[in-house]
Amino acid sequence: MDEFNLLPIYRNGLEEISDGIDVSVPEFCRKCCRVNEKCKRHYMNLAEAAPGLYHCPHGFSSYVFEVDGDNCIFTCLRIEGEYDRAKLMSKIKNQGKRYREISYPILLEYAEAYREYWINQNKYERYKKFIDDIFHDVRKFNQQIKLKNDKIFRKSQKNKRYSELLEYSKSIYVMCWFLTLRLNNHDFVYNEQLMKADVRSSYNIFKIIDKVRYCMKEKAESKDIKMVMTAERECRDMMAYDCIELLPFLILENAVKYSPRGERIEIYIDEKGNRQHVAIVSLGPRILENEINLICEQGYRGENAVKATDDGMGIGLYTASCICRLNNIDMRVYSDPLKIKCINSIEYSEFKVDFWIDL
C-alpha cells in the first residue's frame, strides 16, 4: 500500500524509518535505528506504549498514536519546547532548517491526517478486493456460459432444429463476447499493464467490427440509428494484442451515444498494399477548432458533447488512442467545422475516426 505520511514514521516490522513528505529523516537516525541498541530498545518500548509524546535517547521527540488498533510512531521530530536541544543539535549540524521544528498542534493535525488517510486507504483496499472478486466470478461464469454454449452448439449439429439452435447459440456467444469486452475495457482503464501481458495474435478487423455492430444493434435500433458497413475487399488478418477488440467497440459506442435519433453510422474498410484503412463516420456534437487536439486526452470532453449528454467520462477516445499506440495503429479524428444540424441548441457535424493499420 502506498504511504502518505507528512512526518517521519517508524516501521515496526521493518525496523526502519521512512521519510515524511514535510519532514525527512536525519541521516543519523536512519543509520542508528537498526544498529544502535538504545534506539532499538526505544522503538521496541514505543510499540507497546500508551499514546503521547516521548523522548528518544538522542534528544528527538517521538509521538505515539493509535490507528486501527495498532500503535503508529512519528519520530525524529523537533516539537517546539519538547525536544532536547542540547543533545540533538550535534546530530543535525548545519541541517536545522531541513529538520525544522514543528508545533504540537501541527503534530496533532498531521497525526489526524495520517489516521484518516489510513482508514480511507483500508476501505479502498477492501473495496478493490471486493470488486476484484466480483470480476473474477463474472469472468468465471462468463467462461462457463461460453463453454456450455460451445457444447450445445457441437452436440446439436444433428438436431432437426439445428438452424434455430444455431441462432440462439450465436446470440449467447455474442453476448458473452460483449461482456468480456466490457470487462476488458475496465481492465484497460484501471490496469493497463494487463493488456500488455500477452503476446500478439492474429485478428481480423472486419470480423471484430461485425461482432461489435451485432452487439450494438439493439442499442442503435432503440434510437432508430442504422449502422452500415462497407468493405471494399476481403480483409487480411493483423497481429495485435487482445485489447484490439475494444477499439471498434469504443468508437461505435460513442457514435451510437452521440448520434441524434434516426441518423446513420457508416463504416468503411479498405486495404491498400500492406495497409488497412478503417473509417467510422457519424453525426456527432461538433468539436470546436481549439478542442480537436485535446479530444483524445484523458478526461477531456468537448463542449457540445457535454451539452448533449452527462453520460461520459472522457475516456473512450483516450483509451482508443492508447490501444492504437500499443498496436502501432495510426488513429486520426476529424470533426467537420461546418455544422449540419442544431438540435436543442447543440450543434452537430460530421465526425470521423480513421484508423491506418500496418499489416
Partner: protein, 224 residues
C-alpha cells in the same frame, strides 16, 4: 548425453526432423504435445482441450515445480492455485518457477482478475502468455496452438538455449560452434559433432541438460 548421440539406428528416424517441422500440421502436433491444465475450480478447460484432440492432463493444484516436469505446455489458473505455498502471487509464482527451472517448456497463466503486482510482472514477460479467464474458446485454442508451434520450432528452442548459455557466460565463439553443431545435427540426424562440441565448451550441467531436453523434445514432438 553420449547415449543419445551414439544410437546409430535412431539417427535415421531423426534425420528429417526439420523437414517434418515444416510439414507438420497443428492437428498432429496437438496430439504429441502434453498439456497440463492446473485449475482449482473446474475441469472445463481441460475437457474442451480433450474434445479438440489436445493431449491434455488435469490437476486441481500444484505445489512443486517438479510436478510439471512430464509436460510440455502448462496452463495455470492464478487464483486458488499453489495455496500451500501461501504466496499472494498464487499460481503465478509457481508458473514463474516452472519457466525458470524448465525454460524450454511453454508456460502460461489465465485469471479472472489480477492484482497490480502480478500485472507488472506479467508485462515483464516472466512467462510465455497470459489471457483473461473468459477468453473466447477458439481464441484460446489459437493461442495454445501458437505455443505448441513455438515449442516445436527448432529456431525458437535454440533462442531459449542461447539465452541460457549467455546467462552462463559461455563465450560467443563457443555459442556459435554449438549452434552450428545443433542445426547440423538436426539436418543430418547425427548429433555426434554436437556431443563433442558441448563436452568441450559447456561445464554447466543444467545448460547441458537443457540442450539434451531440447533435442529430445523436438524428436518426440516432430519425429515420433
Amino acid at each position: 548425453m553420449r547415449w543419445l548421440f551414439k544410437r546409430e539406428g535412431q539417427r535415421k528416424r531423426y534425420a528429417s526432423a526439420i523437414e517434418l517441422l515444416e510439414k507438420s500440421n497443428i492437428a498432429s502436433l496437438r496430439k504429441r504435445t502434453k498439456i497440463l491444465v492446473v485449475d482449482d475450480e473446474d475441469e472445463e478447460i481441460y475437457e474442451v482441450l480433450k474434445e479438440r484432440q489436445y493431449d491434455a492432463y488435469y490437476k486441481n493444484d500444484i505445489t512443486y515445480s517438479i510436478e510439471a516436469e512430464p509436460f510440455d505446455i502448462i496452463l495455470m489458473d492464478i487464483r486458488g492455485v499453489a495455496r500451500r505455498r501461501k504466496s499472494n502471487m498464487e499460481g503465478f509464482a509457481i508458473a514463474c518457477e516452472i519457466k525458470s527451472k524448465y525454460p524450454l517448456k511453454r508456460v502460461c497463466c489465465y485469471s479472472g482478475s489480477v492484482h497490480q503486482e502480478i500485472s507488472e510482472q506479467l508485462a515483464d514477460r516472466k512467462i510465455d502468455a497470459f489471457w483473461v479467464k473468459d477468453i473466447d474458446i477458439d481464441k484460446m485454442c489459437e493461442k495454445i496452438d501458437n505455443l505448441i508451434m513455438e515449442y516445436a520450432d527448432v529456431e525458437k528452442q535454440w533462442e531459449v538455449l542461447r539465452e541460457e548459455m549467455v546467462k552462463n557466460k559461455i563465450s560467443e565463439e563457443d555459442i556459435r560452434r554449438i549452434r552450428e553443431a545443433y542445426f547440423e545435427g538436426f539436418k543430418k540426424g547425427n548429433f555426434a559433432e554436437l556431443n563433442i562440441v558441448t563436452m568441450e565448451t559447456i561445464k554447466n550441467a543444467s545448460t547441458m541438460l537443457n540442450i539434451v531436453n531440447s533435442i529430445l523434445t523436438l524428436i518426440k514432438v516432430l519425429a515420433v
